[in-house]
């Protein structure tokens, strides 16, 4: 316009151009300053990891030549996210543990030292674990610390008031241990032998082809369950005490399960990794085969006496130990312990009176000598309603009663009670059928 009219440039236009020019100049100069500073103060990913590490593992120094073997990252209880190696041979495993509160997860940095012990761990992030604050701040320096990764790690929740989040942390630590055991390079470097796998092999050999597709896992929770002592007058004891003599301790208690099958197997493994000896117990509580146990008749007898019966409640395998039965006319009085499961510390010990009606075992009465009620569930009386409801139940109706009662909310107590009673009824029915 200005050219045509040959007038001096429009002052408004000059002002506008100047305004834009100043803004652009300021922006460009500022960004140039920032860009230079960004290069000077750049924090590399390695440095970021080092900062995270310095809080849990002061000796950390990244081994830049190490590249993690991440071909197989899906563990049974979690997932491996990343693995780093420190120059001193320690591994930092970023592991996610499943099974937390609201099906959430916790991701940890787990430091495994070159001697295969756990040095410590720190929470990297969590998903839906809103009460993670209730895990004590020192947990990362106490829980599982000093334990070997090839050990049978047991849930630790000292000082915590959150079972689910603690379980997720447990699973993450287990996942890190699993990674060490299942990755060839790491396994060799740490000099690890998967003892559980060896033990499982012994048990599988014992059981033969028929049980080839069963999956075995350690069942440390079951061995810590409270069960009735041999003399009913005495205080309840740990299941471990009955099957693990001081001079010949139990190495592993393995639980074998197969998908779509009602059968559950429990195997007791003794000895050490050089020569495992095992007793396998089949689903109905009978000892099927043993290996290397010839000289331990007393122990074998104890195992035979405390018969572990596997029953399927819902879609979960549950176990119960039958201690004794006393015949009193038509009635048979059983003492039975429902073994605890998951992370719940309690187990029920029941006295169940059963009578044969129409060639079927029918419950006459159920009394709890030790209540395995887990506090925090609706209420003890509510949880124990099932005890009275089970009167008159047969093996066919227990599950029905259980399902309707479970809705009341006392899931875990119901599980244990139903498993114990069902185990008794199955046993009674088996005896009736065999004419005993």
């Amino acid at each position: 316009m200005s050219e045509k009219t040959k007038k001096p440039a429009n002052p408004a236009l000059i002002a506008a151009v100047k305004a834009v020019a100043v803004l652009v100049c300021i922006c460009v100069v500022c960004v140039a300053l920032l860009a230079v500073l960004n290069e000077v103060l750049y924090i590399s990913d390695d440095e970021r990891l080092a900062r995270a590490m310095s809080k849990i593992y002061p000796d950390y120094e990244l081994d830049t030549e190490f590249s993690a073997d991440l071909n197989n990252t899906n563990a049974p209880d979690g997932q491996i996210k990343n693995v780093y190696r420190s120059r001193d041979g320690a591994y930092i495993i970023e592991a996610l543990g499943k099974g937390g509160y609201q099906n959430g997860s916790v991701t940890l940095y787990v430091v495994v030292k070159s001697d295969a012990t756990i040095f410590g761990w720190a929470v990297k992030e969590n998903d839906k674990q809103s009460y993670i604050d209730r895990v004590p701040a020192t947990a990362g320096k106490t829980w599982y610390v000093g334990r070997r990764v090839d050990e049978d790690l047991q849930l630790d929740m000292t000082g915590a008031t959150v079972a689910m989040t603690s379980t997720a942390i447990y699973n993450a630590v287990k996942t890190a241990a699993w990674y060490c055991l299942n990755t060839e390079s790491v396994k060799n470097e740490l000099g690890l032998i998967d003892k559980v796998a060896l033990a499982t092999d012994v048990v599988k050999q014992l059981l033969g082809e028929e049980y080839a597709d069963y999956k075995f896992s350690t069942a440390n929770i079951h061995q810590n369950a409270t069960v009735a002592a041999d003399d009913p007058a005495e205080q309840p004891v740990k299941f471990m005490d009955l099957i693990s003599p001081a001079d010949y301790p139990l190495a592993y208690l393995l639980v074998g399960e197969k998908a779509d099958s009602d059968n559950g197997i429990m195997a007791y493994v003794y000895g050490n990794e050089d020569a495992y000896e095992a007793v396998a117990v089949k689903e109905n509580g009978t000892v099927v085969s043993t290996s290397g146990m010839e000289e331990k008749a007393e122990l074998l007898q104890s195992i035979t006496d405390h018969r572990v019966i596997a029953v399927k409640i819902g879609n979960q395998m549950r176990y119960a130990v039958i201690h004794s039965y006393v015949e009193d006319g038509d009635n048979v009085k059983y003492t039975v312990s429902g073994l605890k499961f998951a992370s719940y510390p309690n187990s029920y010990i029941l006295e169940v009176v059963v009578k044969g009606v129409d060639s079927k075992g029918t419950v006459q009465s159920v009394t709890a000598t030790v209540s395995g009620f887990v506090s925090g569930m609706p209420s003890e009386s509510n949880a124990n309603v099932l005890l009275t409801q089970l009167n008159g139940a047969t093996a066919d109706t227990v599950l029905e009663l259980y399902t309707s009662h479970k809705a009341s909310g006392a899931t875990n107590s119901s599980d244990i009670i139903a498993a114990a009673v069902l185990a008794v009824l199955n046993d009674f029915d088996a005896k009736l059928a065999s004419g005993n």
Partner: protein
Amino acid sequence: MTNLILAVGREFQWTTVLVALAIAFGFSLVLGILILLINKFTQVKEDPRIKEVEKCLAGANCGACGYPGCAGFAKALVEGKANLDSCGQTPTDKRIEISNILGIEVSGNAEPTIAVVGCSGGVKCQDKYEYQGYGDCVSQNLLAGGRKACEVGCMGAGSCVDACPYHAIECREGYAHVDPELCRSCGLCIQTCPKSLIKRVPVSAKVYVACSTQCRGKDVMSKCQAGCIACGKCERNCPVGAIHLVNNVPIIDYSKCIHCYKCLEGCPRHCIKYVYPEDVPNSSETAEQAK
């Protein structure tokens, strides 16, 4: 972490630096031009008269006119939305100046005004309930419209007293009184009063109606001893026809009023009152007291 200074920083990556500069350049250029363009196309031309009018206004920014400060009032005036009379503070010579700028006539009401309270019930008006809450009329009004039996009764709790910047209002005998000496007609009390009882009258006015109820006489009788019962005596007594009953309330046309005080003298409820206390004849006051 062993050597902090070495732990940060990296080789210069000129490409990212250049990209950053390009982004900064592009963004600022686009946004700058956008702002200026939109500014140009959406510009609302401001009337130069607004500034001039603002200069003439009192500049107290009291907000009594209902506009955000004197600048807002000036804008509204130029746009023809506001009435110059809404401002009680601007002196007459400035008003004339403003009217010259705007090319409008100074309206008849340009005469300065003062505030009067349209209620004289106070203790003579019954209470609906006993108010024990905190606060002034505004708070009290939130609870079932205040404690007075009359819907338009002064509660005498002094919201207007607090609002008045000139300390021209005080509460006596349970209702608010305006001191015409001090009142500058800023209008803050008018805005504050939850019952809208305060109104403006010209400074030349001598009498005003101190009741605002629109109820029928019988209803008023039962609630208040000082309320207007709409008997119409004032209307009949007025020699110039300046008073008319509208919705049971007498309205005085001050342009016709000749200050004969006939309305005031004839009122059986004494709800037409003197604007200026000095006009009150001593005799009539003693007579009132005797009654």
